[in-house]
Amino acid sequence: MGFKRKLYSVTWPEGHALHGLEVTTKGLSIEGLVEMTRAGEEITRAPDVDAKVAAAGKLLAGFSGRLVAWNLEEDDGTPVPATAEGVADQDMQLMVDLITAWMDAVASVDTPLPSASPNGATSATAPVMEASLPMVPLSPSPSS
């Protein structure tokens, strides 16, 4: 049996704009996270359009290089391929939202504690990420 690297599945809870979308990705290194975070900041802060476009390209390439599968569909129901072309062909704002949420899920923890949130995100709308570890159903409790 061959070795399978760990994959991550990101889903969004009910009420979130991305609810229903399921994204499976490879892991992201800290270096990758730092580079993509920088690219995300450049998109908003870069003074000229060329720099913004270059940063967006970096962000999309970084994400598509780690994307394994997703259930995103075109308006006519055609599945969008989980490739660089599939990612590049999508609405830019959707991709930026998705990639930002994915990066948050990779590096942060959904805290159960109530806390102020400047951008409106709460633990109830934060993405959920889980590693694809093999799971088996629990055996029935002896007391039930």
């Binding site: 290194s29 800290i30 990779v106 590096a107 923890v109 590693a131």
Partner: protein
């Protein structure tokens, strides 16, 4: 952040950068579980 992780794990920045970002989740979980004033 990178230098802090180097101190924490006793390794070079290149090793920290190559590590999976999910280690940051573990560190945040640990911070959430740490009592106030505990180092």
């Amino acid at each position: 952040m990178i230098l802090g992780l180097c101190d924490r794990f006793g390794c070079l920045p290149s090793q920290v950068l190559a590590e999976e970002a999910s280690v940051l989740r573990l560190l945040r979980l640990e911070a959430l579980g740490r009592r106030e004033g505990e180092s």
